[in-house]
């Protein structure tokens, strides 16, 4: 099966994936009342940016950036390193967010945003 026609039509399809993932995550953050699902959405949102950085590091015909004889074209390693940092930040954010959800569950007995709101209005 020849996919080259498909790829040339969609161009740099990585970026479409980035946009799709980003908006999916964003939608989950906005639309889901469940706080754990919100956190999952937030992580998808952040992950899309990781793919954006990794896509821009790709050099056509380039190999992994390790010094080997006979190879002169490498992918750009800098975005990879940046994204390692961003992944750590993302994991820390998710961990902190989920820890807050646990505390919210202890304090309110629910992790549903709407229920928390109605509890607040009653008191």
């Amino acid at each position: 099966m020849d996919l080259s026609g498909f790829f040339s039509y969609w161009g740099l399809y990585n970026y479409w994936i980035v946009v799709f993932l980003m908006m999916t995550g964003f939608y989950m953050v906005i639309a889901r009342p469940n706080l754990v699902k919100k956190m999952a959405g937030l992580f998808v949102f952040q992950t899309s940016v990781f793919i954006l950085f990794i896509s821009m590091a790709k050099v056509k015909g380039g190999t992994a950036p390790i010094l080997v004889e006979g190879v002169s074209t490498y992918s750009n390693p800098l975005p990879h390193v940046l994204i390692l940092t961003a992944i750590v930040v993302g994991v820390a954010t998710t961990a902190l967010g989920l820890a807050l959800v646990v505390r919210i569950n202890e304090a309110y007995g629910t992790i549903d945003e709407d229920e928390i709101h109605s509890q607040e209005e009653e008191s």
Partner: protein, 492 residues
């Protein structure tokens, strides 16, 4: 020694944070944090002194020269913001001892001071770094620690406020990351000075315009520009008193500094204000922020929440000054950065004193409290006068510059609206003053005593600063003007 001042500014609090975690007992953790914060302040003063003599200062981390290594760079504007953050930290900490012991369970106090140091590290790091990605990392250090600090509030709503802030703050930070990535795509560099050179040839591309838009929206979320301010009122209301005072006086200010850095240094004033319509958009949002947030503040019964909405309005003043993109406008914005830190710091500290004695800052509980706590309420009254912009206070200086900048630009309507929103400030400050001074005291508050001296002194130090810098404006206005001129590329 002076060669390493720049890195010490960040390293001191960063290394102290894990040490603080190891200390046993809340008193030791507090004393250690206090010492560190004063060392940070001393360092900031030395740094400002060096920068004023040398113009700007650069430091290559690990001796890897920029643009390949991470470069730290400080000019007048950044040294000024470093001084704001460091001095607010140094003033809030003496206050924090009793306030934190009262509001936070004993076993968490050590962790509280560790987070406080990390937050200080992040805020200082954002200001001194000259690398766009490094800025993102420090932004996340300060944000993650401030989410934790806010969630330590006594009310359970502190948890939901912290969660809401975490979600919105992360979206903002991710937007900034996308912006940095798009800039890297076009230029292959992350160093801000290098970016500034390499962006202008490719400025007229969709990628750079998208990067600019992502950065503007991301930073606006962080600095709580209307209508992206929704996280702020809850976060400041339910956070522990010392945290409210510290964050209200520093966090949004540092975000404003980031905005200035990107607009004026990285993208350049021609691109930001002529090729992109950011001036019009920001000035419109700023005016709406001033009016709407001040009006909403009028109807708040929780005084901390009222002050939080007033912060949103004050951010409006700062952004309005910046959006005019003239020397006077920028000077007004930068000077208000400093002045607002003084007045909001003082007012939130006064709230902390009230909360310690009353366990509430609800307006109904404040009836006649001025007779029981005269020093606290006098501090609130004087801080409120500064917020309104009465002559002899710092608030007056800011508004004077701001109105002047608006008139220079022939924006009569804006000047009138600035004055009108000051009138709204009169109304919401007066509401509290009337209840506290002219209503009979409630039975329950008859036994309430004045707040302890360790908490009153820091509050009054900030109140004193409000008047000192309101009367002798030579230092602040000279610094702000010099910073504005550097941003606009005039003069030095």
């Amino acid at each position: 020694m002076t060669a390493h001042l720049l890195i010490l500014q960040v390293i001191i609090p960063l290394v102290s944070a894990p040490v603080c975690l190891l200390l046993r007992g809340d008193r030791a953790a507090w004393a250690f944090t206090l010492t560190v914060s004063w060392a940070v302040l001393a360092n900031a003063l030395l740094l400002l002194n060096t920068v004023l003599a040398a113009g700007s200062l650069s430091y290559a981390i690990g001796a890897w020269a920029g643009p390949f290594g991470i470069e730290y760079r400080v000019d007048t504007a950044s040294a000024f913001v470093v001084l704001i953050v460091a001095s607010v930290g140094a003033v809030v900490l003496p206050f924090a001892y009793k306030s934190v012991r009262h509001e936070i369970p004993a076993e968490r106090i050590g962790l509280f001071y560790t987070c406080f140091l990390l937050c200080l590290t992040g805020l200082l790091g954002i200001v001194v770094t000259g690398d766009a990605f490094n800025l993102f990392v420090f932004l996340e250090i300060s944000s993650l620690s401030s989410y934790t600090l806010i969630s330590l509030g006594r009310d359970r709503r502190a948890l939901t406020a912290a969660f809401q802030y975490l979600v919105m703050g992360t979206i903002g930070a991710t937007f900034i990351l996308v912006g940095v990535g798009l800039m890297y795509m076009m230029t292959g560099t992350l160093n801000m000075a290098d970016l500034a050179e390499r962006l202008s040839p490719v400025a007229d591309t969709r990628t750079v315009r998208a990067a600019f838009a992502f950065l503007t929206v991301g930073v606006s979320l962080k600095l709580a520009l209307f209508p992206l301010h929704l996280w702020l009122p809850n976060a400041y209301t339910y956070a522990p008193s010392a945290v409210s005072a510290f964050l209200a006086a520093t966090a949004t200010k540092v975000a404003v500094y980031v905005l200035l850095r990107f607009f004026f240094t990285v993208f350049g004033v021609e691109f930001s204000f002529e090729a992109m319509p950011v001036g019009q958009i920001l000035s419109m949002l700023a005016v709406v922020a001033m009016l709407v947030a001040s009006t909403v503040a009028l109807f708040q019964d929780d005084i901390k929440r009222m002050l939080a909405y007033s912060s949103v309005a004050q951010v409006g003043y700062i952004i309005l000054g910046i959006s005019l993109a003239s020397v006077t406008g920028l000077t007004a914005g930068i000077i208000h950065l400093f002045n607002h830190a003084l007045m909001k710091g003082a007012l939130f500290l006064a709230m902390g004193c009230l909360f310690l004695r009353l366990g509430s800052v609800h307006i109904q509980d404040l009836q006649g409290i001025a007779r029981r706590m005269p020093w606290t309420m006098a501090a609130f009254l004087l801080g409120g006068l500064s917020l309104i912009g009465v002559p002899l206070t710092t608030g007056f200086v800011s508004k004077w510059y701001l109105v002047q900048a608006a008139l220079e630009d022939n924006r009569w309507v804006v000047a009138v609206l600035i004055l009108f929103s000051s009138l709204l400030a009169v109304a919401y400050v007066w509401r509290v003053v009337e209840i506290a001074y002219f209503r009979p005291a409630r039975r329950v508050s008859l036994r309430v005593a004045e707040a302890p001296a360790v908490m009153l002194v820091p509050t009054w130090v900030l109140i004193g600063a409000n008047f000192y810098f309101g009367i002798d404006t030579s230092l602040t206005s000279a610094l702000a003007r010099r910073a504005a001129e550097t941003f606009l590329g005039i003069g030095t």
